[in-house]
């Protein structure tokens, strides 16, 4: 790569922040659309969250995909078809490394470089201050556009209960790496999401006692239905465009016939219908509940001394508490108003991607769907690339597109009915979301 120390103005180049899965697709698709790209990555290698060597990676030894391979791979760079339905995280990392190598993305990535500040210059352009993670002076460069792909699974959400008076060990799920951490201990896992369930299952195989605390009842889908990955069965119903009510009915029936009555295992009754929360896919949780290896308990109300008090008044004495509370998005290099952040730091973006007041600022990969993230991030970045190109090549048409997009109803691409849990703020249905994106892409189709 050329030496640019004395060139502050990068002219038409686009800056991409992060070289995880979302950053890599952004770099590849922007370059494919003819843009010069500088990507900044604070780590010294690609892969972001999927690279277990990275400080901020939430991977643990046994992490596997939750969505199946065909619903997770990049649409234009499939995973090897002889890989399992649910590959291991190390395979995902190898896949991302091969993607970067295949498309020669390394030429555009500055590793070990942290973005400190991104500030608008006024004419749609941006000053990006970077610093080597090894220290040293800051450098400022000017870009035509900025694409943020810094991930959203690295800044743990704190537990809502005070833990300062508790004597046992409390760690966030992000710090759980290896089953050895659980061996022979009494473990309480807090959180009913995919991570919470996965760790509870791991604990069931290692710890002496396992409690699993969830605030509400969830619909726990098995990983396989009728011998097929469950998400593939679900997409068959979406393909047939079965109405939500019918799908809910079928889901209910299927679960009743296969897993049966979940409350028999001590799980609370879900307070919502199927498809009204982010899917939790775990075949083994019920198995270990049925073997008495996991005890389901309600919400935690107090941690003090050696005891944990539960919502039903019960008191338990774990020596390790793992909080699978999820993560919050964080953009410490951007002023909050640029992404219209609310008080919890959650941005308000058009299609969860485009900054509303800044046409040259976009975020890629900040969605959560009932399918893998990579295909969504891919098409988001294609849309961003086409948009940035159209702005320059045909400003009149770009203005028309912008006008039309501003009238696109939010409910056409967000999930309408979800339980009011803070983790659902960026939940989408992958089919509705991709339909909205496809409509936008068609408007921007090169002539």
């Amino acid at each position: 790569m050329q030496d640019t120390t004395d060139i502050a103005d990068r002219h038409d180049a686009v800056c991409v922040i992060g070289a995880g899965a979302s950053g890599l697709v952004a770099v590849k698709n922007l370059r494919e659309h003819g843009f010069a790209v500088d990507c900044y990555e604070r780590e010294t290698s690609v892969g972001g969250a999927w690279n277990w060597r990275h400080d901020r990676s939430p991977m643990y030894a046994n992490t596997h995909l939750i969505s199946s391979r065909p619903l997770t791979e990049f649409p234009d760079f499939p995973m090897p078809d002889d890989w399992p339905d649910y590959p291991h995280h190390s395979q995902l990392l190898a896949y991302l490394e091969r993607y970067a190598e295949h498309f020669g993305l390394g030429d555009s990535i500055w590793f070990g470089t942290e973005v400190v500040a991104v500030t608008p210059v006024g004419d749609g352009r941006w000053d990006v201050s970077t610093r080597s993670t090894g220290g040293g002076a800051e450098r400022v460069q000017r870009y035509a556009a900025v694409v943020v792909a810094n991930g959203h699974n690295w800044s743990p959400k704190p537990l809502s209960v005070d833990t300062s008076a508790y004597r046992g060990q409390v760690i966030h799920a992000a710090a759980y790496k290896d089953p050895a951490q659980l061996r022979g201990r009494k473990v309480l896992v807090i959180g009913g999401g995919n991570t919470g369930c996965d760790i509870a299952v791991e604990a069931a195989q290692q710890a002496t006692t396992v409690w699993h605390s969830t605030r509400r009842g969830y619909w726990y889908a098995p990983k396989y239905l009728f011998g097929r990955p469950a998400d593939q069965v679900n997409d068959r119903m979406l393909q047939l465009r079965l109405p939500l009510r019918l799908r809910q009915f079928l889901y209910h029936r299927t679960l009743k016939l296969t897993v049966g009555d979940m409350t028999r295992f001590g799980l609370p009754v879900p307070d919502h219908r199927p498809y009204e929360s982010h899917p939790v896919v775990n075949s083994q949780l019920v198995y270990y509940l049925g073997h008495g290896r996991i005890t389901s308990v309600p919400d935690v109300t107090r941690l003090e001394g050696a005891t944990v008090e539960l919502a039903d008044g019960r008191r338990i004495e774990p020596d390790l508490v793992i909080t699978a509370t999820g993560y919050l998005p964080r953009f410490e290099f951007l002023a909050p108003e640029l992404l219209d952040l609310d008080e919890d730091g959650k941005p308000d973006l058009h299609l969860h991607a485009f900054a509303r007041k800044h046409p040259t600022l976009a975020v890629v990969g900040l969605v959560q769907a009932d399918a893998g993230l990579f295909p969504l991030a891919h098409w988001q970045s294609v849309a961003v690339a086409r948009w940035l190109r159209l702005r320059v090549s045909d400003p009149v048409r770009a203005a028309t597109v912008q006008q039309r997009e501003s009238t696109r109803p939010t409910r056409s691409w967000t999930r309408l009915r979800v339980v009011p849990s803070s983790r659902h703020w960026f939940e989408v249905s992958h089919t509705s979301y991709l339909r909205a994106l496809e409509d936008l892409l068609r408007q921007m189709e090169p002539a």
Binding site: L71, P75, D76, H102, Q232, R236, A371, P375, L437, E438
Partner: protein
Amino acid sequence: MSSQLLRFEDWTSPVPAVRREVLKALPDGSVDTPPVLFVPGLGHGAWAFAEHWLGHTASRGFGAHALTPRADLSLRAYVHDVVQVAASLPRQAVLVGHGVGALVVSHAMARYPARAAILAAPVLGGWGTLGAALRANPLGTLPALFGAAPRLSRRQLFSADLAEADGYRARLVRGPADVYRKLLFAKPAGRPVGEPPILVVGSPEDRVVPRKALDRTAGRFGTAPLLFPGMAHDLMLDTNWREPIDAILDWLIKELATQAGG
């Protein structure tokens, strides 16, 4: 228009994995040229390229690979296999499709951002293809209209002076007529992703691909065909096999230089 984004068929019933035969010839030492993947048409296998073109391509500094169509063939499975092999190569691949292989490449281009694509003696299907086959080889083609496997004649594929023609013809695999019909009357491919440069090559004497079809194909991609008069359909097996592959590689080198410069 079918959706590029919502790929229910791939999501709900993925093409089953098979062991694929991929023959290759690699240049000495490491190179920074893109790998080239040859995609044969119906009846042919990777062997047809291994005969001359693979080795020659490698000798000119490109990693050369050729894929044999799977036994249980369909357009969808063939496109899947081409994209799988292309994605398994170390760098963004150049796709070269011959005959019906060009049709497969045109579909693969909508799924995978090829570095460049070459359609050699392209059979993109439709009534024109059937008409040409009937004219050149009525006895071999007619039964195909009634469900039997079509039989390609020697003079359809090879030049009269090609000594090895009978040996090559013996290696051809006859697929079920149904596969031919489905391939030739498949929906046209979607727009290529990543805007790869595309070259169409062929021969005016080709008895499978009429000159008009060649012009039409090239026109679809905004170019004119590069012609090799006097050659038969199987360019890569002809006595003059060296000419078209050299022209293809010269074009490729020029295109890569333009891309790097632009």
